[in-house]
Symmetry: C2
Subunit: 419 residues, 2 copies
Amino acid sequence: MKKNILYAQSGGVTPVINATACGVIEAGRANLDRIGKVYAGKDGIIGILKEELIDTSKETKASISALRHTPGGAFGSCRYKLKSIEESKREYERLIEVLRAHNIGYFLYNGGGDSSDTAHKVSQIGKKLGFPVQCIGVPKTIDNDLPITDNCPGFGSVAKYIAVSIMEASLDVESMASSSTKVFVLEVMGRHAGWIAAASGLVAREEGDPPHIILFPEVPFKQREFLKKVKASVEKFGYCSIVVSEGVRNSKGKFLADAGTRDAFGHAQLGGVAPVVANLVREKLGYKYHWAVSDYLQRSARHLASRVDVEQAYAVGEAAVRFALAGKTGVMPVIKRVSESPYRWKIEEAQLSRMANREKMMPKRYIAADGMGITAAARRYLAPLIRGEDYPPYDRDGLPKYVKMKKVLAQKKLPEFDI
Amino acid sequence: MKKNILYAQSGGVTPVINATACGVIEAGRANLDRIGKVYAGKDGIIGILKEELIDTSKETKASISALRHTPGGAFGSCRYKLKSIEESKREYERLIEVLRAHNIGYFLYNGGGDSSDTAHKVSQIGKKLGFPVQCIGVPKTIDNDLPITDNCPGFGSVAKYIAVSIMEASLDVESMASSSTKVFVLEVMGRHAGWIAAASGLVAREEGDPPHIILFPEVPFKQREFLKKVKASVEKFGYCSIVVSEGVRNSKGKFLADAGTRDAFGHAQLGGVAPVVANLVREKLGYKYHWAVSDYLQRSARHLASRVDVEQAYAVGEAAVRFALAGKTGVMPVIKRVSESPYRWKIEEAQLSRMANREKMMPKRYIAADGMGITAAARRYLAPLIRGEDYPPYDRDGLPKYVKMKKVLAQKKLPEFDI
């Protein structure tokens, strides 16, 4: 009897994670001689634990094809981290029970470092419980912080959105600077790694080009040097355009964004470093400012995706099915840069055991000597990732034609499970 | 001797104000038998007072053509309001002196209500000082608050950007809501008029569609009703997507953005109503939230312009030159809606004296009964304005090909002037 695929999305979504889903499902449909159905976990692994498996065979060909240009997570995602096999024994056993009940031969888990770890553990425990399932990790993260892979699907599109946005907003500021706003601050995502912030530096091709300052989480904030550079930019170029990563900390390791407010769990509430930096500039230098926080806009802006990113996102999904059919388990398709100029890439295979729980920070050689810009080496690495456009179709009302899944669930066969 | 045109941009720029400049300059170049040069004030009227006139004949045909797809204000703009003729006599006289020195026959002033007023006054004082100059206002404002004209060039593109952005971010939130973020708040511009916020409502075509709540400056904020609707949305649809205008006030007329919060340096934090609304939701309902402030991104996002808007922006520039050549003065080309379905429009002529200092608010019949959404009448009005796409060209590095003007100044002929 043919085995089924179970695909699930995990963690924060990206503008192109559905392109990966599209790659998985289309590759599944192209191999119906060897594969049964492609199921998708509703809201990720939570849905699997609850035995809520979306039967993607109920979706039309056109709907699946439209996943390629639809942002968000079409089947739902979740933040739910399984711990060690000992600590989360009950959940791992339930997972295997669900996989067994639905004849799942291939578990494709689309996420970042944590998900690689989970997929790896499911592979181990399945064997132990006498239900061997092939587990394939599928890379995804806007943070670009996975090891081994040259870059992560999702990152290129966010990078392009941020680069174009700071380019456009800077043209605005520049035209107003003689009598009005002189400093603009754009906050971007990336709590631990400054890849997204770094991508904005692609806009600065000639002296005076924005952004004039980039603040990375990898570099402790130095107030005096920062203010000096703001002043120099305004005096030399008429204005100063700043990109700041949400994760910037001061020399004591405290988040700049941590203005003392706490969230419901008592954690420092992040996501407002732009106003902090902007207020500092006004207080110390007196310049009129504006600030923006792009937040979810940046990671859902499918309207401005990178074509390279869309192609890679699709390719890792397709490759995951190919790996599954080749009998592989405990692996992840990753992106290998074959050449830089012209840019060429291919899909390779990495061991999940080597992917898990390792974050890839910006290397020192990508950060300018003053800590507030990027180097030529960084440009060479980043440039190909934002190349090409890949617009979604629009309807006659001028809105993108994004698709919604019907999300028909497979018949449940097991008792309820409390999560 | 042929007279020259002097064109100037005024106030906050838009994604398409340069399309208007393109219309002016291309129409000027098409009529070289009757028009001398087209000058542009550097940084708007400040440059005119300083006798800094950019000679647009020094720009190539390709550069002028590229203005059509370039955001920001290509010649610079400014916030500099001339007062009454009595109060600002010195400036008005200097303006006329500069116009006379450079043989300006036509003054085309591209701005909002204040600029209409200034253009009108220049027309009056020119006559009085024996240098009659034809003054044509050219409409521009993302706020869509000019009277008489059906809509304002600049608004449609911002409207489209905000509509697409809330659509995309909502797909993101929806996919995460089972275990993570349940409420998303997007802050948009519009301090006095809620047109931009209203445009987001175009996305909500079926029950449950985002945004679930729109907060307008025209409607005093009612905390209890707001929280009730947030809760109902989360319970019914799984999440709640909110668009809030920067100008929302409480029942005492105080801006919500001015909530007395302090940043890390102890300063009052202004210009962020989104975090205030988001914090309120968490405090009262306990939902996990995210918020974004699009600020200048929204008014410079030429990468996602409305085609209708670009065409109208170009058309008002072209019409201004046509009006000038027809001997008109003290007028403005405005947009007249000829039919709604199919949408058809044409350019008409309005008296500047009727445009000045009148703001067009959202009419009551466009705001839903509960004050937190738009009506079918609003949809009919807004829908055509975001139709069609008009992408800028991109270079091989994946960035838009936005143009920079050379900004060659005409030889000065007058003594310095202190402003």
